[in-house]
Amino acid sequence: MNTQSNTYTFLYASILVVVVAAVLSFTALQLKPRQNKNREIEKKQYILKAVDISSTPEDAEALYKKYIEKAFLVNSQGKTISEDMDKAFEVDLKVENAKALKNRELPVFIFEKEGVGEKIILPIRGKGMWGPIWGFISMDTDGKTIYGAIFDHKGETPGLGAEIAKPAFQKPFAGKQIFDEQGTFTSLALRKGTASGHVHQFDAVSGGTVTSKGLEKMLRDNLGSYEKFLKSLN
């Protein structure tokens, strides 16, 4: 056979591409359930981490079941719209953030552990420098005081923006206030230099200005959509 002819070349390319596409779709379909499971476990680990509970991929499910009492959906008016735990867990914040504020379905997770008490965990998601950044904020039941925070990112610059994923950056969030003395929602503002002692501000990452600003906006936008819900707590 003439392997140099145009017909042969076209046929060869077409068949090759179809075969490869079939193989890849088959692999992707076969592995999909496992990959989704991994993502689910990772999300549970993040949620637990927001209240300072370390978990491994193996025990995350059990710990989540043990400590997360309830999960439900609220709207921007602070009204509960669904009490389905699985539905609340599966909400994709990227989709919700794209909607108008009044149409958003916002998940709330309630954590309870003896000695720690009840905490409210809220998901957040925003833009960093190179891609999405996200996290979970846990709050005291007064709806004002941050108890813990966890952030992660898709691909911020290592050593600069990527520092937001380090405990050293996240630990100081504990104790910060997102409402001022008059009860107005203020979120947290960036601060150069140390922000310890300033309960309405957080430390920027040196050299990670864009990421820090993205984080500030993420906090304001996402916690802002929970404003009415948080106010209704006291």
Partner: protein, 214 residues
């Protein structure tokens, strides 16, 4: 090559061992440097990356070698690229399913195996002109030659940069109490380049045959 030739004849063994030192893809041919710098801050991702590259070079070599008499020469690079890209996607999917944490650390670098010059280089230089078995050995050999360097670099970077090996602390606490500190610079890419340079230097000074004459 006759069919009676034993599977591990001297010639075939050379295919496996040559890339480890005398024809090492990283230190001698200086290919695949980008990923060697990027994912060698810790041993674990370096090892997973090495195994992934080894799997891709070996399988791509075998597949292209099986197809070598049917590939139209005008589109042979594209055919090779399709084979490599498909294999890399499979590797990426498998890692996401079975080694999720490592796959997160490797992030884009798994996808970038496609652009690793070692793979296309071996397909062009070897698989297109040889039978599947030698091509397989050549793929394993070159993947291993790449892996060995990655692991050596990662060993020093993790040990000096984080004081750990494979995630376990190995530098005794006594040393820290005496004022020893992890060298943060080792974790950053520039030190990977310097470490690699030192390895190339040591390698060449021990193998006089590798030094180019002026």
């Amino acid at each position: 090559m006759s069919d009676k030739e034993p599977l591990f004849s001297a010639k075939n063994r050379k295919l496996l061992t040559n890339p480890l030192s005398a024809e090492n893809p990283i230190t001698v041919q200086v290919l695949g440097i980008c990923s060697a710098l990027a994912i060698t801050a810790k041993l674990e991702p370096a090892i997973v990356m090495s195994l992934s590259v080894m799997a891709v070079t070996a399988l791509a070599n075998v597949i292209v070698s099986l197809l070598r008499n049917t590939i139209p020469s005008r589109i042979r690079i594209i055919v090779q690229l399709v084979v490599v890209a498909a294999l890399v996607i499979v590797v990426d999917q498998v890692l996401k399913a079975f080694a999720y944490n490592v796959s997160k650390q490797l992030s884009v670098f798994v996808g970038l195996i496609i652009t690793n010059c070692i793979i296309m280089g071996r397909l062009e230089a070897f698989a297109l002109g040889n039978k599947p078995w030698p091509a397989f050995l050549d793929g394993i050999g070159n993947g291993a030659g790449y892996g060995v360097i990655l692991i050596i670099v990662a060993f020093f970077r993790e040990l000096l940069g984080s004081g750990t090996l494979y995630g376990f602390h190995v530098i005794p606490k006594v040393l820290y109490d005496m004022g020893y500190q992890n060298n943060g610079l080792m974790i950053l890419p520039p030190m990977a380049l310097i470490t690699l340079g030192i390895i190339i230097w040591v390698h060449r000074s021990r193998n006089k045959g590798l030094i180019e004459s002026n």
